[in-house]
């Protein structure tokens, strides 16, 4: 299929599309940086870059998990709800200290991931439906556990949210470390290979004797754990647990980052570098429009244009 399009379309156009698919998102980021340097006052400052990076860090972390799930030809709509759940569980268990609270959060997130994974891998429910259930139920549970916003005063949590090493906030360091880790997992480990094989063709992976169910469950657990990390970091930054609004529409931001970053929704391929750049692209776009005080509706329109461009670049390509 892919080869057929390559032959029929003019060579230059095909090459351009290929190039756009792989490097378009980086070009977009570079373009926004240049444009902002020229038109936005006070853009070139360490302070500004730190703000943008800190704001985008939770989105990147969630998008990493989303990229893995999309790599298996699935989707995880429950990430925003898991963030909210992480926020409310953090507030609920902080009395025991930060570390025990984080352990309980991890337990809850793993449970959510297991539920998703089991529905997809064992029961055979479509990922979009399986995770939709938890998207609705997870936030409900978060609100049952903590019905209203709660201020948190734990010094450990506060420093997690606003502390830094040599001027680089923990949030950025954590996001970068996780991105490197996930990239390594996808490229260099058996698990990563199996994940991509399943996304490419689940029946073929099954016939080849891969542990399809186990890999799928682990992927959904990873996605939930990453979402929980993002939820805890966002809570730490705000110094308040707000399960009503935390992580709202996060699933869409994460999917946007993954798709704009050049990972096809059809599975079998994961582009971690592109995913990070995709999240950064949307962040810079939003920042540009806010800094120039344009109406918020413009941000949505601009995002839509970026998504359409990304999908256009991916058009006509096969799975590989």
């Amino acid at each position: 299929m892919a080869e057929a399009t390559l032959h029929t379309a003019p060579l230059d156009k095909a090459r351009l599309l290929q190039w756009l698919q792989t490097y378009g998102v980086y070009a977009g980021v570079a373009l926004l940086l240049v444009v902002n340097t020229v038109i936005t006052p006070h853009f070139l400052s360490a302070e500004n870059f730190r703000t943008q990076a800190v704001q985008v860090a939770p989105v990147i972390i969630v998008a990493l998990g989303m990229a893995l799930v999309i790599g298996t030809e699935g989707v995880d709509l429950s990430v925003g709800a898991v963030m909210a759940l992480a926020a409310s569980v953090t507030a609920l268990y902080l009395g025991y200290g930060l570390l025990p609270a984080l352990l309980v959060v991890a337990l809850f997130a793993a449970g959510a991931g297991l539920a998703n994974g089991a529905l997809v891998a064992l029961v055979g429910v479509q990922p979009i439906v399986a995770t939709l259930a938890l998207m609705v139920g997870g936030r409900g549970l978060a609100l049952v556990l903590l019905p209203q916003l709660k201020d948190l005063h734990n010094p450990g949590l506060a420093s997690l949210g606003s502390g830094d090493i040599a001027g680089i906030p923990y949030l950025i360091l954590i996001a970068a470390a996780l991105a490197l880790l996930i990239a390594f997992v996808v490229r260099r480990t058996t698990f990563g290979r199996r994940l991509l094989a399943i996304g490419d063709s689940r029946p073929a992976a099954q016939l080849a004797g891969l542990p399809v169910r186990r890999v799928l469950i682990v992927v959904y657990v990873l996605s939930a754990l990453l979402a929980a990390v993002a939820g805890v970091l966002a809570t730490a930054r705000l110094q308040a647990s707000d399960p009503t609004s935390l992580g709202n529409l996060m699933e869409l931001s994460a999917i946007t980052a993954v798709v704009v970053g050049g990972t096809p929704l059809s599975g079998g391929r994961v582009n971690i570098g592109g995913t990070v750049a995709g999240a950064v692209l949307i962040q810079l776009l939003t920042a540009t429009l806010i800094k120039h005080d344009l109406p918020p509706s413009w941000t949505q329109i601009a995002q839509a244009i970026v998504i359409v461009c990304a999908v256009y670049a991916a058009r006509g390509r096969g799975k590989r």
């Binding site: 209203q148 606003s162 930054r237 110094q239 609004s245």
Partner: protein
């Protein structure tokens, strides 16, 4: 392709049990941080009730004869229904529902409540349910202003008087409903502007953190603020207005962008307390000191008033959620056969550095 597994059909009740167990286990051994403010929260039973702005002469009123209901005595076994619009997940709604419940028990009136969980269709059926349960009087906190015809017709058919609180219904007063009790959001915006002018000295650039788009609270609080600024302090310029969606997180993010791109900003007007507290978090994160940038907010929640005490917030305009006493008093007067005003506007107070400490107990 796949055979249907019997086990997962059986698993359904088990799933419910598991979910219930999770909730129980989670809340059973949970231990949250000790919250100092919790203790004095309960002690502040000395709630600030609502005062009415003195009605202008010639403003319309309503009597039971004009409305077409029957007289009754609130004290003798009357049942009042209350339909709440949003989940009691924010301080305003919590205080609002609590105030009605407290007043009902104080007066010994039976109160039935329903919560629409932000779904308008549910609120209509809530009202119909309350009517079916035989309430004599209705208090509604409407989610929307429009689309009330079926519910109001059902109430009219049973001759049940309706009072709406905090948002207005687009219908005829004294015909479709008796009266409307609320704050004047435009006035709140104007008073926020006064605070801002006082805090900044009437000169410099200010920013607005808008509420959710397409919400009448947002439009009216913006309108009042801008009007007053334009009239009283031409030296004050609104150079930035972006939505923070009434949430703390968005308020923080937008303020972070704001102070980067406009370092000379002197004041921030947040259209609710949550966004204002988000702005405070952003300023703290950027290493600013309390009072560097003047923040004025609207609502009057405890955390924001504490912010005034700590010096981070320059003024909080109250939007009083305690409708209980006023709503019941209006119902009482009306059902006795005396006349009540059609529009009842509440007097909102304000918290400034002068009174924040002593009035902290009044905040909700």
């Amino acid at each position: 392709m796949r055979r249907t597994h019997r086990p997962h059909l059986l698993a359904r009740p088990a799933l419910v049990v598991v979910a219930a167990a999770v909730v129980l286990a989670a809340s059973g051994c949970a231990k949250s941080e000790d919250d100092v403010s919790d203790s004095d929260k309960s002690s502040s039973a000395a709630e600030a009730g609502q005062k009415v702005v003195t009605p202008k002469p010639g403003s319309k009123s309503c009597t039971i004869e004009a409305y077409g209901g029957r007289k009754l005595d609130l004290k003798k076994g009357a049942t009042v229904g209350f339909s709440q619009s949003e989940k009691e997940a924010n301080p305003f709604r919590i205080a609002e529902t609590k105030s009605l419940k407290d007043e009902a028990s104080r007066r010994g009136v039976k109160l039935l409540t329903a919560n629409a969980q932000s779904q308008f269709s549910k609120q209509i059926s809530d009202v119909q349910d309350l009517l079916a349960k035989g309430v004599d009087l209705l208090v509604i906190a409407p989610l929307n202003s429009d689309g009330w015809d079926p519910a109001l017709k059902a109430a009219a058919a049973k001759k049940v008087p309706v009072i709406t609180i905090d948002r207005k219904i687009n219908a005829t007063a004294c015909k479709d409903y008796v009266s409307f009790i609320a704050s004047d959001f435009v006035e709140q915006g104007r008073r926020a502007a006064d605070q801002m002018i006082k805090a900044t000295g009437g000169k410099g650039e200010v920013a607005i953190l808008l509420g959710s788009a397409g919400n009448n609270v947002t439009t009216e609080r913006t309108k009042g603020f801008k009007e007053a600024i334009a009239k009283k302090a031409p030296g004050l310029k609104v150079v930035f207005q972006q939505t923070g969606d009434f949430t703390r997180e968005k308020g923080q993010q937008v303020t972070e962008q704001l102070i980067q791109s406009k370092p000379g900003i002197k004041g921030i007007y947040a259209e609710n307390d949550e966004m204002g507290l988000g702005a405070v978090a952003a300023l703290k994160g950027a290493g600013k000191k309390a009072g560097d940038i003047k923040i004025v907010t609207v609502d009057g929640t405890r955390s924001a008033v504490q912010g005034v005490v700590d010096g981070w917030i320059s003024g909080v305009i109250e939007s009083n959620p305690r409708f209980g006493p006023l709503a019941f008093q209006t119902l009482d007067t009306f059902t006795k056969g005396e006349k009540v005003p059609q529009d009842i506007i509440i007097q909102d107070s304000a918290y400034t550095p002068d009174n924040a400490q002593q009035d902290l107990g009044k905040a909700y």
